[in-house]
């Protein structure tokens, strides 16, 4: 089986399982809405406007929802030693990584597609073509979030504290893309020219490329049993 076919088959399997239960999707969306409420209720309404808080809330919400989503990636395979089954199949570890990563990316993007409009409603942002710009930044950031996330999820699941360890391992890696993405979002929402935006997008793309390549190279070492 070719690399791409194997990766797509694994991604399709994961997404099919998720489609049947929708547990991770529903939990991540619910969690994202709750994060927004936590921010709104913990702010000083008299001095901090919703508009000023909006980009911060968006990126905290998306980063944490990603961690919640990623937690399930390899927990699925722990039941009935499913991972051993996959490793016995003629599928290379790199194809396994790409399959898992693709499934995670699709799931995180779907969560973003649902939660970004909710964020716009809650933070009184008028529908405007610039929301597609925010969406594009969110897509770029999702690549950067899920690449190290998929690798760490495979490691954390081997411990007894998977749900606790994943955020501790992953969040330091999410801070740079989070920072680049939130800076880009602030500029998009302020209708800044492309010249002010492109540097942040390039940094985000650089981060995505480096960590996707690195995670692909290191994943076989994590799966070596």
């Amino acid at each position: 089986m070719s690399f791409s076919r194997a990766a797509v088959a694994i991604a399709a399997k994961d997404l099919r399982i998720e489609w049947r239960h929708r547990t991770a999707f529903a939990t991540a969306v619910l969690f994202a809405v709750l994060v927004q409420l936590v921010f709104v209720f913990s702010r000083d309404g008299a001095s901090v406007s919703l508009a000023a808080l909006a980009p911060t809330v968006l990126w905290v919400m998306l980063a944490l929802a990603t961690v919640v989503t990623l937690n399930r990636a390899f927990l699925l395979e722990r039941e009935n030693a499913a991972l051993e089954g996959i490793l016995l199949a003629p599928v290379g570890p790199s194809a396994l990584f790409w399959g898992k990563w693709l499934a995670n990316l699709v799931l995180v993007v779907v969560v973003e597609v649902v939660t970004i409009p909710l964020w716009m409603i809650f933070f009184n942002l008028e529908p405007h073509p610039r929301v597609f710009g925010v969406g594009a930044v969110a897509l770029l950031a999702a690549v950067g979030f899920t690449a190290p996330g998929t690798l760490f999820s495979a490691m954390a699941v081997r411990t007894r504290f998977a749900e606790l360890l994943l955020p501790v391992l992953l969040l330091p890696f999410l801070i740079p893309p989070l920072f680049f993405a939130s800076q880009a979002t602030v500029r998009i929402l302020a209708d800044a020219p492309m010249s002010e935006l492109s540097g942040w997008l390039r940094l985000l793309a650089l981060y995505d490329t480096v960590f996707l390549a690195l995670a692909t190279m290191l994943f076989p070492a994590v799966m070596d049993q």
Partner: protein, 232 residues
Amino acid sequence: MTADLHAIDRIMRRGRAITVAGLLALAGIYVLALGFTPAERSQGLAFKILYVHAPAAWAMEMAFVLVGVVGVLYFWLQDARLDIFAEASATVGMVFGAVLLITGPIWGRTIWGAWWVWDPRLTFTLLLYLLFAGYFALRSALRDPVERARFGAVIGIMGTILVPFIHLTVYLFNSQHPKPVIMAPQKSPLPWVLLEPLLLSFGAYTLLYIGFVTTRYGIGLKRAATEARDAE
């Protein structure tokens, strides 16, 4: 584990000797820096914390980068001793990181007027520190030494690749942190009388790093030998 207990004792003795030499050198440098070096014109006495802060930053970064380099070597050579070295280096890196994160705010309070400023360099140093705290959290949650070594190497390599992003941040973004002019290739603006103790301090911290890591490496070897004996 190939190293026998006598060889391990020899390593630890060597480590302790280097540590003592490093501590004596450091004591001498501090006498020089506090007693015989004039106060810097703009920062006054607060400048003297640089003799602790900057070499601690150097030692921490060296420690963490070596964890990554040794991680790559581990995947190549598959030698368990490399993982023991990586763990030793990461532990010592955490100690120097603590020195860095304590002295930074003390200096910041005097010069910036705040204990903590969300300056990119200080913030990303904290991030690196937290990343390696995660490294230890993962290691402690794994029982199998081979898995611990492999996963440790993965985090070490990933963390090391994060370091250029930290430096990218220093140079690209508007920072309140003093620019790292000391390491700049052009002529240093620091007069020699202020620079000399600093350069000596870098040397002493390097010596301390070697001493601490060698001792910690010996302890790691001893623990691995005990675990291997218990497993038999």
